[in-house]
């Protein structure tokens, strides 16, 4: 073994505090070191070629670089090694800048430390083993989970790039929450008008396959090679035969609260989610269907002219291969009945923003009229309460739901425009309008007459008058006094929450959720759409509260990440993976549960013991999944598990050198 040591001056950065000559001289005496040299700038082209020349002339096979942090230039030197025909993992870096010259002032002591650090690196590189990464093939098909606006956008982008996409949606139609909205801020575009064309485009795109009324049941595999089981719930309606005439819906005798209208209207047991549903085929809600409960009725099958009703349909498990997965599962709204002071669920005229949104929607339960649920009359004085269940550590979610400030401004505007003479009061803590044209929109809402009162509401209670109005007790920070408003309608801006099953799905995908149940991105600033699991990307509110433009841009970002993966066609695995010495492994499998990537599994090996063949279980590592954390190696009792680049022998050698 012939180790060469190169000591960098880094101009004056290292040289001023560390005696580089002394370090170089001392390095020459270290075991296995055949050559040592100091260079002004090792990272420069000159420095690189000096190393290259030294490798050639002194037939070096390992290199120790004493310079800045390996986090800075490790790849630079690894590339140089590769260019010289040496394994990139035969270079070791002693960090004598960030960890020595920059943090110490005493030149003598710093030099001693620098020598120690070089000694440590030399000791480590002596035990270095060559490492390579594997090229893994990529299945060029993407899965998008969630058919809201984010999922639709991601699917369309990937499909437009020419790759096939499967879009899985749990409801019977794609569209998601956006389909429930009336208008969108800050332009007051009609939500359906901008969403439905996209829904239709997704449904008719040659590269997109829709799985509505379906859920992801299981995920295995890794980047480029995911194996996903999709559970297609039985719709009881044959989509091939159904022509969407709606006769079954008309005739169905069973009425249940309509979730799409937040329960403020009724739907049938056989139903389409909303008039513009895509695909526009009804499904039978088996939990509420009379036929499925009693075996009688069967009206829908009788009226169906095409014979599309199929009661005997079964849930189906579909298994597909995917190269990348975009998670766009969205959110749920918190039901604000946990905050007793707002009387939600106790007084009919206290409603959520989404309920108001549905009322404002022309295709909603009231055909666009805003009424007081208690008496059906038009409200004159409406009080909006912000941050209901948001920014509330005591009895809600600690985070800001981000969109409520703007949609409340939108509601006041719409009310003012549609029903002049209504008074809107908004109790708020802060108004957050960070977004393009959002401040202007808020300003417009105020100019149109919305009255903003800074302070929260402490109690909403029945006024007990003939109109059955409610009294809202709050505080106005500007006037510094308690205020009371007798209101006809109270609208609560309730909090956005992660899907209740977010953690389960995250577990399947190998991605983590934060304290609030939203999926965690790989890096908060620089990798906001990637996750810890390679090949799994995030789009929309499943990652944290967002408005529509943000969700759409993130979806496009996620799509591009998938397209990059497909264009490359292969993925490089991490070279520094765990490895098992099978002879030593006792098969205790303690390593399996600590692996965050499920890269470790059990395998049977056949051994000959005393002339007899014997089967024995040992651990084995899937190199494609392993990310090289070394938790398994740190724990292995028999020392069978090791980690490339950081082997036990290497680390022990480092410890011993000190």
């Amino acid at each position: 073994m012939r180790i060469g040591v190169f000591v960098c001056w880094c101009g004056s950065n290292i040289k001023n505090t560390v005696d580089v000559d002394a370090v170089t001289a001392r390095a020459k005496t270290m075991p296995q070191v055949v050559y040592a040299q100091d260079v002004q700038y090792l990272c420069s082209e000159v420095g690189q070629s000096e190393i290259g020349q030294a490798i050639d002339t002194h037939r070096l096979d390992r290199v120790v670089v004493a310079a800045c942090s390996p986090r800075m230039h490790e790849t630079t030197f690894q590339k140089l090694m590769a260019a010289k025909g040496l394994n990139p993992y035969y270079v070791e870096i002693a960090n004598i800048r960030e960890h020595c010259s920059w943090v110490h002032t005493d030149k003598e002591k710093a030099t001693v430390k620098a020598i120690d650090l070089v000694k440590k690196a030399v000791a480590k590189t002596a035990f270095a083993i060559p490492l390579t990464s594997d090229q893994l093939p990529v299945t060029k098909r993407a899965l998008v989970i969630g058919g809201g606006i984010a999922g639709i956008q991601a699917a369309l982008d990937i499909a437009d790039a020419g790759y096939p996409v499967d879009l899985v949606e749990k409801e019977s139609s794609i569209g998601g929450k956006m389909a429930q909205f009336d208008k969108t801020f800050p332009t007051l575009d009609c939500s359906a008008c901008i969403l439905t064309p996209k829904m239709v485009e997704a449904a008719t795109h040659e590269n997109i396959r829709l799985y509505t009324y379906a859920e992801v049941a299981a995920v295995s595999g890794y980047v480029g090679n995911f194996n996903v089981t999709i559970k297609q719930k039985a719709t009881s309606v044959n989509p091939e035969k159904c022509n969407g005439c709606g006769d079954c819906v008309t005739k169905c005798p069973k009425k249940v609260p309509n979730e799409f209208d937040c329960g403020s209207s009724k739907r049938k047991a056989v139903y389409t989610l909303f008039p513009q549903a895509v695909p526009n085929k009804p499904v039978i809600d088996r939990d509420n269907c009379i036929y499925f409960a009693t075996g009688k009725c069967g009206l829908c099958a009788k009226v169906c002219q095409t014979g599309a009703i199929e009661y005997q349909q079964q849930d189906e498990m579909i298994e597909n291969q995917y190269g990348a997965i975009v998670v766009a599962t969205g959110y749920e709204l918190k039901v604000p009945d946990h905050l007793g002071e707002y009387a939600y669920g106790q007084h009919p005229d206290v409603i959520t923003s989404l309920e108001l949104e549905r009322m404002l929607n022309a295709s909603g339960p009231t055909s666009g009229k805003v009424i007081r649920p208690s008496n059906g009359k038009m409200p004159r004085r409406i009080v909006f309460i912000q941050c209901v269940g948001s920014r509330d550590r005591h009895d809600g979610n600690p985070y800001c739901s981000k969109v409520c400030c703007l949609y409340t401004a939108k509601h006041t505007l719409l009310l003012n425009e549609k029903f002049p003479g209504t008074e809107s009061y908004v109790f708020y803590m802060d108004v957050r309008t960070a977004g393009k044209n959002y401040e202007e929109f808020y300003e417009r809402a105020r100019q149109q007459g919305a009255m903003y009162l800074r302070g929260q509401v402490s109690k909403v209670e029945p006024l007990g008058d003939a109109d059955n109005r409610v009294l809202v007790r709050g505080f106005d920070g500007s006037l510094q006094r308690q205020v009371e408003i007798a209101a006809d309608l109270v609208v609560l801006a309730t909090s956005m929450e992660a899907q209740p099953n977010a953690k389960t799905l995250g577990g399947m995908l190998g991605i983590s959720t934060d304290l609030n149940g939203f999926y965690t991105e790989a890096h908060a600033k620089l990798r906001p759409v990637e996750t810890q699991a390679q090949g799994v990307y995030l789009a929309g509110v499943c990652h944290g509260p967002k408005d529509i433009p943000e969700a759409v841009s993130q979806a496009s970002g996620a799509a591009v990440k998938a397209i990059i993966l497909f264009n490359k066609g292969q993925v490089k695995s991490v070279p520094t993976t765990a490895m098992v010495e099978k002879d030593r492994c006792s098969g205790c499998m303690q390593c399996q549960p600590v692996c965050p990537y499920e890269a470790i599994s059990q395998e049977m090996v056949v051994e000959r013991v005393h002339g007899k063949e014997r089967q024995r279980a040992v651990a084995t590592v899937n190199r494609a999944l392993c990310q090289g954390c070394g938790a398994c190696a740190g724990l292995c009792r028999s020392g069978a598990m090791d980690l490339g680049g950081f082997t036990s022998r290497q680390l022990m050698a480092e410890v011993d050198s000190l």
């Binding site: 008074e423 300003e443 105020r446 100019q447 007459g449 009255m451 903003y452 009162l453 800074r454 106005d476 920070g477 500007s478 006037l479 510094q480 006094r481 308690q482 205020v483 009371e484 408003i485 007798a486």
Partner: protein, 129 residues
């Protein structure tokens, strides 16, 4: 304070807007007017409160406030208002409204001066000193 069933009518709001050329609804209560008002310590309602009351249509309270007559029209608030609302002008408009409604009203400065405050301010404005 219980909000009255009827707040300021649209025509009343229009009057204020007409007189000042400003829309009090634009006020977002940054309170910069009150922060810099040299007369604030003598006022029963600070300038930002006057703006808020006007915004909410609680004009009765505006007219009942002594602050209208404490305001020296120094225009510090107007020069600093980030919304360009000129609270001093808004105050002035309320004073004018009141004076018009009660022609014999005479608010004078404290102390020996018997000159009506408004006359003094008007004179200062006219002669720029």
């Amino acid at each position: 304070m219980r909000f009255p069933e009827k707040t300021a009518s649209n025509s009343q709001r229009e009057d204020v807007k007409h007189m000042t050329g400003k829309e009090v609804k634009d006020c977002y209560q940054c309170m910069k007017c009150s922060a810099g008002c040299p007369m604030a310590s003598h006022m029963d309602r600070l300038p930002h409160e006057m703006m808020q009351l006007a915004k909410l249509g609680l004009l009765e309270e505006v007219y009942a406030s002594k602050s209208l007559w404490i305001c020296a029209s120094c225009m510090a608030c107007s020069s600093r208002c980030p919304r360009d609302l000129e609270p001093a002008s808004v105050m002035e408009s309320f004073r004018v409204t009141l004076l018009r409604e009660t022609p014999n009203r005479e608010e004078t400065c404290d102390g020996d001066l018997t000159v009506p405050r408004q006359a003094m301010i008007a004179s200062m404005r006219k002669h720029r000193r």
